[in-house]
Amino acid sequence: MNPRSGSAMSRPGMLRDASRLAVFTVKRLFALFLTVLVGVYLTIIIANMGGQVDELRMVQIRSTVAEQVRADPAFFDLPAAERNELIERRVQLDVERLRLDQPFILRSFDYLYQAIRLDLGRAEHMHSDAGAREVYRIIVERLPATLLLFGTANLLVFFVSVFMALALSRRYGSWLDRAVIALAPSSAAPAWFYGIFLILIFAFLAPLLPAGGMVRVPPPEGTLAYAASVLRHMILPVTAMFFSSIFISIYSWRTFFLIHSSEDYVEMARAKGLPPGQIERRYILRPTLSPIITSFALMLIGLWSGAIILEQVFNWPGLGTLLFQAIGHRDTPVIIGSVVIFAYLLAITVFLLDILYAVLDPRVRIEGGRS
């Protein structure tokens, strides 16, 4: 086939691929949006105890208003009946303002609409470091810290484990291989568990590294010094996450690669005498790429929730610590807001996974997402 006819062939092919990919993307986006909608709605129902929270809020409004009116010297001279009437009026105003007089089902859709638009309302007690009371701002302020910590740790685990696994699958049965198999059960414990030990050893027994937090107090001047301080604070949590999942990752990848390297086409490539590096890249990695991506995304999903406790243990100012503080303050809007944000993050992860899948898996491109 000469090059000219090749390019002439490939242009409509690429266009076809792109349009199918677009159709697929839109379809997936729509399906995921519906999924998020249902998930967030369930969250709202749970968080409001099916409307019971409102009764608590009614009681709270009544007592606050009564307290305000009683404490206000301007109303000291009012007769009791008039004062009660005033309290009633003010309660009524608040109830109407919060639309508590409508049935919960109606308002739940209202909440859903607000939550989907990320209009998460105002916190009851908490505020962001900048002083904002909007839940959205409080959460967004914490998001970069979480992304930094978990992004670093996950990428590290992912790449190290895949490459270690490739190396091990080439010479399985060696002492290193057996050591990894023996160490794999250590991953039964979550990262925060190792975090406690790391803090004990490196922050208290041998005080080399900070026990928690994200940056030195007071924060150092200058971007470089600041970054260095953050890096120093990241060492222990990242090590904890790395240690808790590295052996199981290597183990499962190694098994996966072993199974795939006994396929006939790999044996064939070996018989042809191709160099091992090429066999790995073209014959083992390429066809197994989509399951690798899947498992990476699934790991991300799993670690989103592991984040909460690890952050709490290391006092890392991210989403997890925020959620923990919100529990302490019983700040319902912040709790619901965090759950909604977590749902969004998971949905985005799933969506990216789908797109990657479509790009990598020729079947999706050709069939246009009809599975």
């Binding site: 039964a188 803090i199 208290f204 929730s305 406790i309």
Partner: protein, 444 residues
């Protein structure tokens, strides 16, 4: 049953499986012992804390840790008036009682606290008691006098005037050698005595006294900030953790499996609905929802268990089981079962599920520690069961009291080691099972 027996015969060849089984067996034995030795109600009562622990030291280390590290920390000593010599001189309308509570102190470290518990059974007039502390070298330190109303606790360690007089905290100052220049106080070893001179204003009314010299080491597990013996929580944490892990694993695996099988068997819209629900469930963040339920509804461990199972029903596992079950649906033996008229439930439960069960056993076993750690995680966030003593709650207490910062390592390490043993036991067994039951791995 023969493939099972064959499987277990092979299992014995894996040392990790044997170790794992041994660990699990030890934990189960410990649980059975615990449930028999400390009944449920008693455990809750003990863990509630309060006055029943008043004779226990605060934050004492385990004794064996101290002895291994070559320490000589004192243990709590209770000197009771029932074993002391009592002189009683009756007079008109009452009596004068004097007693001496003596003990030998041969440690280099000071006790952690000294308290005196007095009780008197008078009807109307309160007895009066005067206390004098006698040191081995013959010094006499008056501790003042007071009236006793029924059951009295005299916190000698918190006597501020005495502390000012001694220049040290009383439990240090009372036992320190007198001839000290500058530098930290030293223990004067020898026999100490607390002399009580009491006047009882009623005939027949008695007086009982318990002098408690609190130690710095206690028992196998040590004590926490509320004087509770950590042994109670460590012991009771075992059955709770095992029960939670096992029930959650069974609950999620079985429901998921049945639903996946039903979806595959019925196909059509049932399958579609199950698939969509699974996708929604993947998006629902499990831990934040558990946190929300714990914060808003109840932190009871059984409510949590229920939520874990409900959220686990449509877990990502359904996709995996579906892939395994799809080829089975068209297997000839299912065809045969339909031919003889087997119902849907029978086909799903008796023909489809048992077929993939062996493949699932390893997953199931490795799932148990996940839930054990989940319970500990929730407790660490302060959402542990309000009444049950669990490992996670011990760690939560320790963290709340900055145990690592204060050097109470035992407080964090003992529940952590137990968690680790549980996790390792099940994980090691699970990994070995995986190799036995998944033939594709065995050849590697």
């Amino acid at each position: 049953m023969s493939p099972w027996r064959e499987g277990f015969r092979q299992l014995r060849r894996y040392p990790s499986a044997v170790v794992g089984l041994a660990l699990i067996a030890a934990l189960v034995a410990l649980s059975i012992y615990t449930v028999i030795a400390i009944p449920y109600g008693q455990a809750l009562e003990l863990w509630r804390g309060g006055d029943q622990w008043r004779m226990h030291p605060v934050n004492a280390r385990p004794v064996w840790v101290d002895r291994i590290t070559g320490g000589d920390l004192p243990q709590t000593r209770i000197v009771s008036s029932r074993e002391a010599e009592i002189e009683e001189q009756p007079f008109e309308g009452g009596s004068q009682i004097s007693m001496v509570l003596g003990f030998d102190y041969r440690h280099t470290a000071f006790p952690s606290e000294i308290n005196l518990f007095l009780s008197s059974d008078f009807a109307e007039r309160q007895p009066f008691v005067r206390l004098v502390w006698e040191t081995p070298d013959g010094r006499e330190i008056p501790l003042g006098g007071r009236r006793i109303s029924g059951n009295e606790r005299i916190s000698i360690s918190q006597d501020w005037t005495l502390e000012r007089r001694l220049g040290e905290v009383p439990h240090v100052g009372l036992l320190a050698a007198a001839d000290r220049a500058t530098g930290p106080p030293r223990v004067q070893q020898g026999r100490y005595q607390l002399r009580l001179d009491a006047i009882v204003f009623e005939e027949g009314a008695g007086l009982e006294a318990d002098l408690v010299v609190y130690g710095r080491a206690h028992g196998i597990a040590g004590t926490d900030h509320q004087r509770r013996d950590l042994m109670v929580a460590l012991l009771w944490g075992t059955p709770v953790a095992l029960a939670f892990g096992l029930l959650a694993a069974v609950g999620t695996t079985i429901t998921t499996l049945v639903i996946a099988a039903a979806g595959v068997w019925f196909g059509g819209w049932v399958d579609a609905v199950i698939q969509r629900l699974t996708e929604i469930n993947i998006i629902l963040p499990m831990l934040p929802i558990l946190v929300m339920v714990g914060a808003l509804y109840s932190t009871s461990i059984w409510v949590m268990l229920g939520v874990v199972i409900v959220l686990g029903i449509f877990s990502a596992g359904i996709k995996m089981y579906r892939a395994m079950l799809l080829p089975i649906r068209h297997a000839p033996y299912i065809e045969a079962a339909r031919a003889y008229g087997a119902g849907n439930a029978r086909i799903i439960l008796r023909y489809m599920i048992p077929r993939i069960l062996p493949v699932l056993i390893p997953t199931f076993v490795t799932l148990i520690p996940t839930f054990v750690f989940l319970e500990a995680s929730l407790a660490l966030l302060g959402l542990g069961d309000p009444v049950l003593p669990t490992w996670g709650k011990v760690m939560n207490d320790a963290q709340a009291q900055s145990a690592l910062y204060h050097g109470f390592y035992y407080w964090v390490l003992s529940p952590a080691v137990l968690l680790m043993v549980t996790g390792l036991g099940f994980a090691m067994l699970g990994f070995a099972l995986d190799r036995v039951f998944n033939p594709r791995l065995r050849t590697l």
